[in-house]
């Protein structure tokens, strides 16, 4: 069950299946611009308009992906394509 939103130069995908058992919800806490919130199912989603997230509110700082890897369920992936290079983008 993938949730995703676009950023200025890429996208963030969140595997909500993995989030179901997450105890920390660290992605929401660690985002410096507070663009994530927990919905009624306790899953992380955008707290703002997706266009705003894409335009500027997501800083592409990688905190959500990396802190989720360390303290969450490794559900968040930040994908930043690079012309001429294989797309991996996973932590």
């Amino acid at each position: 069950m993938k949730y995703e939103f676009e950023t200025l130069t890429g996208k963030i995908t969140i595997d909500h299946e993995k989030c179901k058992t997450c105890e920390t919800h660290i992605c929401v806490k660690v985002c410096p611009t507070k663009i994530l919130k927990l919905d009624e199912k306790n899953l992380p989603v955008l707290a703002i308009d997706p266009e705003e997230a894409k335009r500027r509110e997501c800083l592409e700082d990688l905190a959500c992906e990396q802190e989720c890897y360390l303290k969450g369920n490794k559900a968040v992936k930040a994908i930043f394509p690079l012309v001429g290079y294989e797309q991996e983008g996973y932590l």
Partner: protein
Amino acid sequence: MVRLFEYEGKNLLEKSKIPIPKGFFVKTHAQARDVAAKLNVPVVVKAQVLAGRRGRVGGIRFADTPSEAAEMAKEVLKLEIAGKKVQRILVEEKLDILKEYYTGITADDSIKSPRVFFSTEGGVEIEEIAEKHPEKIVSMPVDILEGVRDYQIRNLVRKLEDDGKNIMGLSNIVLALYNRVYRGYDARAAEINPIVLTRDGKFFAADARIDLDEEALFRHRDIEIKPIGRERPPERTEIAWYELESKDYRGTWFYIQFVPEQKLAEEGGYIGFHCVGGGGSMISMDALVREGLKLANYCDTSGNPPASKVYRAAKVVLSQPNIDGYCFITCMANQPLDITARGIVKAVREIEPKYPLLIRNAGNKEEEAHKIIRDLTSDLPCKIELYGREVDEVFCAKRMKELVTEFRKAVDKS
């Protein structure tokens, strides 16, 4: 800085209402013949390479007929000038030259202002004139805020030229070069050598040497100049850099591929270099080279770039084939280094390099940066050494050399 080919420079001059000879840029001898036929006058065939003194090595030839133009073009296209293969030529009408002049504009560091030069000795390298006949060159500084007035340029030209009609014609060209080219297109230097006065009393810019500020190219989409792939096909590293940097305005990423990736793959013996701080990078590079290390590339991510940009930059550096190490050194950075660290870590986790990495984070949030790197690479087999402000660039260079030597010994043994 982007140096323009002559035909590109002349394009700018024409846009700036400076007269240029009729001509066309072509790539084959057949096209040269067609252009000569179209112009229906004697022509000059000129190699388009970013090198001076083309005439002295046969890079500028004259032809009276289209078939001669084709022959001359064939010969010129075989040339290599200053190590650069001639791949394109400019075919233009041959001017009936009465006299040649020189004008140039460049930044004078001693006064932190542009300086306009003029000489009645055109067609020769200006450095030669300065050495042999300094009395035949005049110059004036320009207040960058005030600009330059037409009477000031006329007064400058008048110091060496007597003929009133010539003074007007030359001044118009010099003024246009300053206002419309040097200032209008954000040039670092602009030179016309020679300005030709023909026997029928007309002025033309017979050559153009223009260097543009590549950081300002985004303001001049009308001329469609890219800083990569100008004299050789661009490396994939350069394409990646250019494509991102032209779209992502946050922070800066500057990249130069010193050694083609194919050569890296074949020869080895180089390290990947990544820095924060252009000035500090010079010190770091000097230190690394003094230790006998060879750098495959230059890469600077400064000006507070997002982690996504640093990730891409680090990925480009780390992905270079057959390198023996990755050296990341910051100056005393004011950009938050934890953000930079996140970008580097994402690339390291993706590439999982087998060679050693030396990372020196010094400045704003260096402790947070170190924690991020330690926490997120502890499960990787990579050898990563972390340093902060307690060491300098010289130490880092020496340590990098030791790490690379150990790595090469281990590789040779296996």
